[in-house]
Symmetry: C2
Subunit: 333 residues, 2 copies
DNA sequence: TTGAAAGCGCTACCAT
DNA sequence: ATGGTAGCGCTTTCAA
């Protein structure tokens, strides 16, 4: 390979241990020696082999963000947050996508990957936290929470978010409200569905099974499920999509069928997005602090890495949400 | 740390070298020994420390995709392509964002990062390819081309793309055509600008400096530059945005100022996007095979890694583009 | 077919 | 303040 610490030591007429001390900015090195070593490094164009260092120290200064989908701006926004605080602390952030596939997630935890990183920011794709814990690496869960797990996590108040949306709909006279949901595996599915159910009950609106549709979390599911909804004899007057991708899918379907959002039908969504802002009249939605989720997640992880658990006495952080009113809700008489 | 190759060797009553042979699926191991070792591995829950292996073999089986912005769906789409072919060949794809900042790019090449990976897929942020070459790692450039550099790259026909857009505009009677461009550093800036210039000349339309605006490649630049354009005494009838983000920024600005795209003004853009499809009447644009760019880039890189340079006699691949007509172009009398 | 041993490049401990 | 040296976990000769 390239030039090693030994080459530098020889060149500077010192011992490798001295070079190591200089490289790592440790004290107990005389200015002259330090200079000699630095000159040698400069001269030889030496760069330290961090891999070799990692195997000794057990620290790589890499963390990895494991997310389902890199094309979802929610996750990229979270990653941004992670990266911004991690880089300030001298950590590099890698990104790995699972496409919601458990097998890809396994790659991360079955050694292949987890050795290379000091810690993991994870949006899990399955509900058994054993595999995660087995890796032995500090892990912080973001966005989703594994039911019954005690892992560190940062989520938002999903229940409240849906409640906000539902009340906006009901306030505008809607009673035929359909929900387009992802799978009911994690809190993001379950809490949101509960928010729907409870609000319906609270306002004494009969819950109709035909208005409740679940699929995966992707655009095509939103499209597909909306299509089903529109084929009903008694179609809903409002659709509530429980994440940004589903919402886009819903909107696409509505557009394709010539329906005008905010006029012929109402559409609201969990999660804001560029699309939600500019699609038709603007989609009324619930917004959460995505960057902040990443930032807090990273801070938790760094605290874990530095064994400063006191910094995060709470294993679970739950962030607030806010309603963003735009023009996608029809006012019914 | 965890259980090492030595533990396995002891447990199975063999030498570490034998365990190593089993792990690496080498021959010259008797079935019985192999079984004993595998049992020991199973029993002890051993996972190989790839980091330690890498320091010997010099191969990590990681590649990294270095892109300016992870929130830009163009790049995430390219990354998808990279990842899909890399994973088939047993490589893991890491993602690192530079935010167009040279300093962040340096992290990749100043050793910190480049040691950990076998190869790099790069969308460069600066035009000096020396730093890149110095890393000694195989590199494939995607999207952008460094002027005068002989590095392996895969790009699209930027010149043609703009020509297509310009002709569509001119066909519809436009002559006051403004261009909202990114910096003229790489081919993506230069070729697109040349496409604009040449087409204007070809159709004998006088080029007006006030209609030519350049900024960075981001949404806010599109917004800002469009704003300038609209304040002109003699504003353009059509705006050509030279990437997806600029286009979205243009659209936002137009919306905010109450202008209806496809009616009050025309907007066309380089790059398709979800936004472009559903924004207002749909934005007419030029589409390129983004996934394919990543795939080809990864194939090139893998060929380089495997020293099969014959597989890619051409150092430069240029992909075609196509015009996608939608409703954002006003037909002038 | 198997084992012993010499590194890979670096860190960290123990001497000096 | 500096040097010598024993590993880190693994691969890879070279012998046996």
């Amino acid at each position: 390979m390239g030039v090693t610490i030994k080459d530098v030591a020889d060149y500077a007429h010192v011992a490798v241990s001295t070079v190591s001390r200089v490289i790592n900015n440790m004290d107990r090195v005389s200015p002259e020696t330090r200079k000699a070593v630095n000159d040698a490094i400069e001269e030889l164009g030496y760069v330290r082999n961090n891999l070799a260092a990692s195997i000794k120290t057990g620290k790589s200064h890499f963390i990895v963000a494991v997310v389902p989908d890199i094309r979802n701006e929610f996750y990229t926004s979270v990653i941004r947050g992670v990266e911004s605080v991690a880089s300030k602390e001298g950590y590099y952030t890698l990104v790995y996508t699972t496409a919601e596939a458990v097998s890809r997630e396994q790659n991360v935890f079955d050694g292949e990957f987890s050795q290379i990183v000091d810690g993991i920011i994870l949006t899990p794709s399955q509900t058994d936290d054993l595999m995660y814990k087995k890796s032995g690496k500090p892990i912080v869960i973001v966005d989703r929470e594994i039911p019954g797990s005690d892992m560190y996590s940062v989520c938002v108040d999903n229940y409240k978010g849906i409640t906000l949306l539902m009340e906006e709909l009901i306030r505008n006279g809607h009673r035929k409200i359909a929900i387009v949901s992802g799978p009911l595996m994690f809190n993001i599915g379950i809490d949101r569905m509960n928010g729907y159910m409870d609000t319906m009950k609270q306002y004494h609106i009969p819950i109709k099974k035909k208005y409740i549709r679940t699929g995966e979390w992707f655009e095509e599911d939103g499209y597909h499920l909306t299509n089903q909804l529109l084929q009903l004899k008694d179609p809903p007057t409002a659709i509530l999509a429980t994440n940004n991708l589903l919402c886009i899918g819903c909107a696409e379907c509505l557009c394709d069928r010539g329906m005008v959002i905010g006029k012929d039908i109402s559409l609201v969504g969990f999660d804001d997005s560029v699309m939600a802002k500019y699609l038709g009249p603007g989609i009324t939605c619930v917004r959460r602090a995505t960057n902040e989720m990443g930032e807090i997640g990273a801070k938790m992880l760094l605290a874990l890495l530095n064994k400063q658990k006191e910094h995060f006495p709470q294993r679970k952080v739950i962030l607030d949400v806010e309603l963003v009113k735009r023009g996608s809700v029809v006012k019914l008489e």
